[in-house]
């Protein structure tokens, strides 16, 4: 119960000594996960879990401790440990908890009680239905490797000595399918999914057809010749790309000299087609939320406007250090102190669908998927290199499938080289929305 979490937070915060600031984050989750294979349940997981994180600031030093339990004696030792840890931190006069800043919380309807009463058999049947649909989707599907249904509902509360007392709950569920297409000589895998706040809103057709299309259309893929091409990033790829850009715009990266864009506010950093917004108050966003990790109201922040760098995102500490204020962008779980980051990114969409974008490209590559972004992109230097698969574009049409190649550029150049932003915005299950993005002059490395 959310009230219980808030009251637990109250009791912890009430134990603050004179001059001591305490912040408690308390969470409670419930989840189930069903995986089916060849018409049977392969595994069924049901679980609840709780956790608490306690941050203490005393004598201008900070310490933190967390525990995966809400037992009273565990909470006692967690608080004691956080206090002890604080005594070893460096003195920093800017350390302080967030304070209420008067920004009004936008009410979002993120919890659907239906999720907690949805019958187990129905969960299993949804997964089995999706498995059948994916298998029947194309004669070239050899095997449906796995189909999952998962749901969760969670509650979280943040209570501080500085006057913050906020709780929220949300729910969500998804289905996903991984299918293998091909024959003895060649196989390709494709993923498809659908996400919703309530199981009744899941779109099995979409999940099945997506997995089938993404596996079958890569069959027969060849390695492309190396060269420079105009590429079209599929919405899922664009979402990952703008997620990385978002990371470079965090106040923490700026403060610590790790942002490419540190001194460039008001300068042109991207094509004038680019407007990048972080808006957790948009209920369509998968990661929408009313409050950030410090309990401040989330808000709409325009990071890049018509190609011009407008602002960074901050938590209360980075805002204070850089002479501004929190933008409601503290991000965290209960096992860490608040960091700074974007929460729900999207690009302002253009007007045209992917097929129309492709129709204008004589010689290019559609990037369906990327791999190894975590190892191939350096957000500090801006070097960008990632494994990819996709399809060749010839004379405005999709041509042969491609695999085992990389695309390379720098983050700085890619932003400037954007030729068109698609109108096909898709609110993906990630902290960034996707759409098709046309980028010129990208190095494709293959044979």
């Amino acid at each position: 119960m959310l009230d219980d979490l808030l009251e637990l937070g109250d009791r912890i915060v009430a134990r603050a000594n004179d001059g001591e600031q305490i912040e408690a984050i308390v969470v409670n989750d419930r989840e189930t996960e069903v995986r089916v294979f060849e018409g049977d349940v392969e595994s069924f997981t049901s679980a609840t879990s709780q956790g608490i994180g306690i941050r203490v600031i005393a004598e201008q030093r900070q310490g933190f401790a967390w525990a995966g339990s809400l037992d009273p004696e565990v909470i006692d030792s967690t608080l004691a440990e956080a206090r002890d840890n604080a005594s070893f931190g460096s003195i920093d006069p800017d350390l302080a908890l967030a304070e209420p800043d008067g920004v009004e919380m936008v009410e979002l309807d993120l919890y659907d009680p239906a999720i907690d009463s949805f019958p187990t058999d129905d969960k299993i049947n949804l997964a089995l239905d999706l498995e059948r649909m994916a298998q029947a989707g194309d004669p070239r599907i050899m095997l449906v490797e796995s189909v999952d249904f998962a749901d969760s509902s969670s509650e979280a509360a943040v209570v501080t000595t500085s006057g913050i007392r906020i709780g929220g709950r949300d729910s969500g569920c998804y289905v996903s399918a991984a299918v293998i297409a091909g024959d003895d000589d060649e196989t390709q895998i494709g993923f498809g999914y659908s996400v919703a706040r309530n199981p009744a809103d899941l779109d099995l057709d979409k999940a099945a057809s997506m997995s089938v299309e993404r596996s079958t259309r890569l069959l027969g893929a060849v390695k492309p010749q190396t060269g420079r091409f105009t590429v079209v990033l599929d919405p899922m790829v664009t979402a990952q790309f703008i997620g990385i850009i978002g990371g470079t715009l965090s106040g923490e990266a700026v403060l610590k000299g790790r942002s490419l864009f540190a001194d460039r506010v008001d300068e042109s950093v991207a094509s004038s087609l680019i407007t990048l917004v972080d808006d957790p108050t948009n209920p369509k966003a998968f990661t929408a939320g009313e409050a950030d990790g410090e309990g401040l109201a989330t808000r709409r922040n325009v990071l890049i406007e018509d190609g011009r760098l407008n602002q960074f995102v901050h938590n209360s500490y980075t805002g204070r250090r850089l002479g501004t204020a929190s933008t409601g962008n503290a991000v965290r779980g209960f096992t860490s102190t608040p960091g700074t980051g974007t929460i729900a990114l999207s690009l302002a969409p253009g007007a045209r669908e992917q097929a129309e974008l492709i129709a204008d490209i004589e010689d290019g590559v559609l990037i369906q998927g990327v791999s190894g972004l975590h190892s191939g992109v350096n957000p500090v230097s801006g070097d960008f290199s990632t494994g990819a698969d996709g399809l060749r574009i010839r004379n405005g049409e999709l041509a042969e499938p491609l695999r085992e190649f990389t695309i390379g550029s720098t983050l700085q150049r890619m932003l400037l080289d954007v030729i068109e932003v698609g109108g096909d915005i898709d609110w993906l299950p990630s902290s960034a929305a996707g759409l098709s993005l046309v980028v010129g002059d990208v190095t494709v490395s293959g044979a």
């Binding site: 294979f37 049977d40 349940v41 595994s43 069924f44 997981t45 049901s46 679980a47 879990s49 709780q50 310490g63 933190f64 401790a65 967390w66 525990a67 995966g68 339990s69 565990v74 440990e81 840890n85 604080a86 931190g89 460096s90 920093d92 050899m142 095997l143 490797e145 796995s146 196989t187 390709q188 895998i189 390695k223 190396t226 420079r228 000299g257 790790r258 490419l260 096992t335 102190t337 791999s371 190894g372 975590h374 190892s375 191939g376 500090v380 230097s381 070097d383 290199s385 990632t386 494994g387 698969d389 695999r403 190649f405 990389t406 695309i407 390379g408 720098t410 190095t443 490395s445 293959g446």
Partner: protein
């Protein structure tokens, strides 16, 4: 940990509705960390997570529940949930008599990290920060991290097994940013072993810091990496990540069972160059992926997967092994009590070859030398894999010359393995890694001697 009667009662509840196999996995994990960034000790943090995961196997189905409530009541509630989830109609009272087995740890601990004063950890961070900044004015930012974890596990199952392990790991890392005319570059070094605070008797954190700082400065002068297929010499140590991605994941029995790997059905065949002998070894003393027992209670093993290029066996967990009527290979692992175990690597490495590494470079007319690798990723179904190079150089006329910028390399597992044409005699284990699979991360080690691949596709930007 939990007493025997409680475990027996929980297993009885787990099998009350039938099922061939039930297991309780109890875990108590304590961790502590300290972080220095921007010349400040930002914070020390401590974490505690304790709970149990219970699974029940019925035919091909697994029911699983986990709980942080380790009272008998809490455990029986979870056991009943797992039994319900597995849904077998053939219930009955079944008693389990547990017999305790202990396995010696390959990684005995000398100094438990929680016995070390926190101030000592803070001093190590400061030492490393000063050393890194002392390398040159170009170093514009330094972050240093210390972490330790103690993970006590206990496993009991309906076959009567009762066993446990006490796993301690300690790690340290330094990340530097260097600023130059062409922008910023980064350098990182990390160490981590299955040992206690004696880690720092074996390693000097200032050496580590200097290496990380020098790497960042070296890269300031790096030119764009070539693009397209080039001859690639992979340096000893961290180069093992190549095999983790190129074939390690593809040799996991869960992928094999679902035919989602290019190596399915190929046991006994030549799948790699005859130079290649690939071993996965959970018993390597003090390595990052070592343990006494895996997370299903099976003692760690040394498993030769590929010998002289011939595929000998896959890696197995209990579930896949039972289905095939064979023993597990000690590769059943899980991130925590909140997850089901699955087939995972431990310490995966390539055995030494016979060539002098200098001869491999001298024998390469043109190509690249990758001195440090980042992480990677593989599509086991197509066999295509990528991994990052975080320090690399051009090879020109048999010599290592200029540094090149970061990027990914891409190749196809079976093709790359078969094409390896030189293997040196300088085997070394690499940096500690975390392997992600299906949403779970577990600590793994990788190692290799220097080796050469005639053609890997480098994802640079130079024409």
């Amino acid at each position: 940990m939990l007493d025997q009667s409680m475990l027996e009662n929980t297993l009885a509840a787990a099998t009350a509705r039938g099922g061939e196999f039930a297991e309780i996995f109890v875990e108590d994990r304590q961790s502590s960390g300290a972080m220095l960034d921007d010349n400040r000790i930002e914070e020390l943090s401590s974490g505690r997570s304790r709970g149990a995961g219970i699974r029940v196997l019925v035919g091909e189905s697994t029911g699983f529940a986990h709980t942080a409530d380790l009272s008998e009541q809490g455990l029986i509630t979870a056991a009943t949930a797992a039994a319900d989830a597995a849904r077998d109609g053939n219930g009955g009272v079944r008693t389990v008599d547990l017999s305790s087995q202990s396995v010696d740890s390959p990684s005995p601990v000398r100094i438990y990290p929680d016995s070390v004063a926190k101030q000592r950890k803070v001093e190590l961070l400061e030492l490393a920060n000063d050393a890194a900044r002392g390398v040159g004015d170009a170093i514009s930012q330094v972050s240093v991290g210390y972490g330790d974890v103690r993970r006590r596990i206990q496993i009991a199952n309906s076959d009567g097994l009762l066993t446990g392990d006490d796993q301690v790991k300690t790690r340290f890392s330094v990340s530097c940013v260097a600023m130059g005319d062409t922008g910023m570059q980064t350098g990182r070094e990390s160490i981590g072993h299955s040992m206690g605070f004696e880690l720092f008797d074996h390693y000097d954190v200032t050496d580590l810091a200097v290496k990380a700082a020098q790497r960042a400065i070296t890269k300031l002068g790096a030119r764009p990496a070539p693009s397209g297929a080039v001859t690639t010499v992979i340096g000893k140590g961290g180069g093992g990540v190549l095999f983790h991605e190129a074939c390690g994941h593809g040799l996991e029995a869960d992928h094999v069972a679902k035919q989602s790997t290019v190596f399915a059905g190929r046991v006994g065949e030549l799948v790699a160059s005859p130079l290649v002998t690939l071993i996965d070894d959970g018993t390597m003393p003090h390595e990052w992926g070592a343990f006494a027992i895996d997370d299903e209670g099976k003692p760690a093993q040394r498993n030769v997967l590929i010998e002289d290029g011939v595929l000998l066996d896959f890696m197995w967990d209990e579930l896949r092994a039972r289905a095939e009527g064979r023993p597990s290979s000690g590769n059943g692992r899980r991130q925590s009590y909140k997850y089901l175990p699955m087939v995972r690597m431990t310490n995966t490495y390539i055995a030494n070859g016979e060539t002098d590494p200098a001869d491999i470079i001298a024998d390469t007319d043109s190509g690249i030398y990758v001195a440090q690798l980042g992480g990677g990723q593989v599509n086991t179904v197509s066999g295509d894999f990528v991994f990052g190079m975080t320090e690399a150089y051009l090879i020109e006329n048999g010599e290592i010359t200029e540094p090149i910028r970061e990027g990914n390399l891409i190749g196809n597992g079976p093709e790359v393995l078969s094409s390896i044409d030189a293997l040196a005699n300088d085997f070394e284990m690499g940096s500690p890694g975390t392997c992600g699979k299906d949403g779970q991360g577990v600590p793994v080690g990788d190692g290799t001697p220097t080796l050469r691949v005639p053609a890997l596709t480098v994802g640079g930007t130079a024409a």
